[in-house]
């Protein structure tokens, strides 16, 4: 900052011949510097808006909902009575959903990424797949809900089951996983691939033994972040009919289920004020799960940077 200002100062002083223009030039430099300072403040404040909102949001939610969060809250089903309400069904529903979504997205996401990075020729077909993936990333999540409702719930007759929800979520977050996995695979130095081929390794041996181990932390980080998006999604699951009032936890992938975001949504809409506090309690649980997943992702990223750095 100071070097740059000195430069401006110098320029204002040296560049002029008469004292009059010199004075004007100096004034102008003063003005330009002031503008810069004002803008600096404005830009900083704008950035802080996001930080402040996040702080207010977290404070508001914790302050509203904390008193409801206890062991009973985790072990009770939803109820007409606020004091008997809990998140048992949606909590287990969310965990089931993520448990089924994770392997599906991992297999299809990493499979696609390997195909595009290691096998596909650079022709119209691979460009079509890429264009398609970037467009899918921009499709509103509720539209995936319509797809899930039509194909999985009704078309395949899976109904309002965990599997329907997981398949829908898989398609929704697949673009995120593919992009992250491609980046991770792309970052594998080509010298390692060459070393492997030079010893007579086949393409798949090279991928399986060199490329994937090297890129795995990056792939896992991307997958976890994508899953944390899935765990917070509401609209597509409403569309596929993940019902709100569930008084049991799923026993297998064909059982009906609900998830935390849907439960939070339905509590938010209830007239009794206590239910909004309970909704905040549910949000605390949801955010705690998200925080855990993010911490895991950061942990993996750091481990990865240490190892390859």
């Amino acid at each position: 900052m100071s070097a740059e200002e000195a430069m401006i100062q110098q320029k204002g002083q040296s560049n002029v011949d008469s004292t009059d223009t010199e004075q004007k030039g100096a004034d102008r430099v003063q003005f330009r510097r002031m503008l810069n300072h004002v803008a600096h403040g404005l830009f900083l404040l704008s950035t802080l808006v996001g930080v402040v909102v996040l702080g207010v949001l977290l404070y508001d939610i914790i302050q509203t909902g904390w008193k409801w969060v206890d062991a009973d809250f985790l072990n009770n089903f939803a109820s007409r009575f606020p004091e008997k309400s809990g998140v048992k069904a949606p909590l287990w529903g969310s965990l089931w959903l993520i448990g089924v979504t994770a392997p599906l997205t991992f297999i299809f996401g990493v499979g696609t990424a390997i195909y595009l990075e290691e096998y596909a020729k650079k022709n119209w077909f691979s460009r079509l797949i890429q264009l398609n993936i970037s467009n899918l990333a921009g499709v509103p999540s509720i539209v995936f809900g319509i797809l899930g409702l039509t194909i999985f719930a009704r078309g395949w007759g899976l109904g309002q089951s965990v599997l329907t929800g997981a398949l829908t979520m898989t398609l929704l977050i697949l673009p995120i996983v593919i992009v992250a996995a491609r980046e991770a695979i792309d970052s594998v130095p080509s010298s390692l691939r060459q070393a492997s081929y030079a010893m007579g390794a086949t393409r798949w041996q090279t991928i399986y033994k060199v490329v994937l181990p090297y890129s795995m932390p990056g792939i896992l980080t991307g997958t976890i972040l994508a899953l944390s998006r899935a765990i917070g999604e509401t609209a597509p699951l409403i569309m596929v009919g993940a019902v709100t009032f569930v008084y049991f936890t799923p026993g297998n992938i064909f059982d009906a289920f609900t998830v935390l975001p849907i439960q939070i949504y339905s509590w938010t809409g209830l007239p009794k004020e206590e239910f909004q506090e309970i909704a905040a309690g549910g949000i605390i649980i949801l955010l705690a799960i998200l925080l855990t997943m993010n911490a895991l992702a950061i942990f993996l990223r750091n481990k990865y940077q240490q190892r390859n750095g």
């Binding site: 010298s191 390692l192 010893m199």
Partner: protein, 258 residues
């Protein structure tokens, strides 16, 4: 393997080799034979095609899209660009060491065992023996024998390159290609590897690309001089350096260009 097959005298025979990167021709009508149990050096200025030529010998150029080859290369009589050649089997016989050391981010042991494992060796004891033998051949065993489980990326540059040589030897190739193997190393590591080459040629046939003419003179039995994709001169190293037949060779080795 070597016991079952009668190995013919020249290890590699190259005849009328042309190579194209897409439209651009990079090698012009190269013909040369490489003798068994010798060190053959390929020299020439940057971009002359010597590395490209080296990579045709184990078909590493196949990995670059748009590369086309005309002419024939025979390995102990068998044409390696024939339609139904298994490039993996070929590369197992023709190993390669690269310009910059490129150990896998795995343990020293796993680096050496990588090749044998992909070729189907699972037995722990056999692998142990191969690892020790390869590391000994690469003159690295004494330095690393107590830390085989350490990450290979923690070794010094010179050690890493000897590890890469050991890794290439672990699949028991007949021929080892080296693409400027010492260009990223300090002088002491370089001389260690040069000594090593003299040991290795008793068992292997070595083709080495080098940017450094002194190195070629020090380590090789035969030297090939490339310029603009053409093989200008190929002769015994002593002859080529003391009494070059071609004016261009003379200009290059006396430092008039390159």
């Amino acid at each position: 393997m070597a016991e079952q097959t009668v190995l013919t005298k020249p290890a590699i025979q190259v005849e009328n080799l042309d190579l194209y990167y897409g439209q651009k021709q990079a090698l012009y009508d190269v013909s040369m034979d490489v003798e068994v149990n010798t060190v053959t050096a390929l020299i020439g200025p940057s971009g002359c095609g010597k590395s490209t030529f080296l990579r045709t010998l184990n078909r590493m150029n196949d990995l670059i899209p748009g590369v086309q080859i005309k002419g024939t290369i025979r390995l102990h009589g068998e044409s390696i660009y024939d339609r139904n050649i298994d490039v993996e089997m070929l590369r197992k016989q023709v190993g390669m060491v690269f310009q910059a050391p490129n150990p896998f981010p795995k343990s020293i042991y796993d680096n050496i065992a990588y090749g044998p494992r992909i070729h189907g060796i699972r037995n722990k004891k056999t692998l142990d023996e191969i690892v020790e033998k390869s590391l000994r051949q690469a003159a690295l065993w004494d330095e690393v024998k107590d830390r085989l489980r350490d990450r290979a990326t923690g070794l010094s540059g010179g050690q890493q390159q000897r590890l890469c040589i050991a890794r290439a030897l672990a699949v028991e190739p007949e021929i080892v290609l080296m693409d400027e193997p010492t260009s990223a190393l300090d002088p002491i590591s370089t001389s260690k590897i040069e000594e090593l080459l003299q040991e290795l040629k008793n068992k292997y046939t070595i083709v080495i690309v080098t940017h450094n003419m002194q190195q070629a003179a020090r380590v090789s039995d035969k030297t090939a001089f490339f310029l603009n994709g053409e093989l200008i001169e190929y002769n015994d190293t002593a002859t080529l350096f003391s009494n070059p037949a071609n004016k261009k060779t003379e200009d290059y080795i006396t430092g008039r260009f390159g």
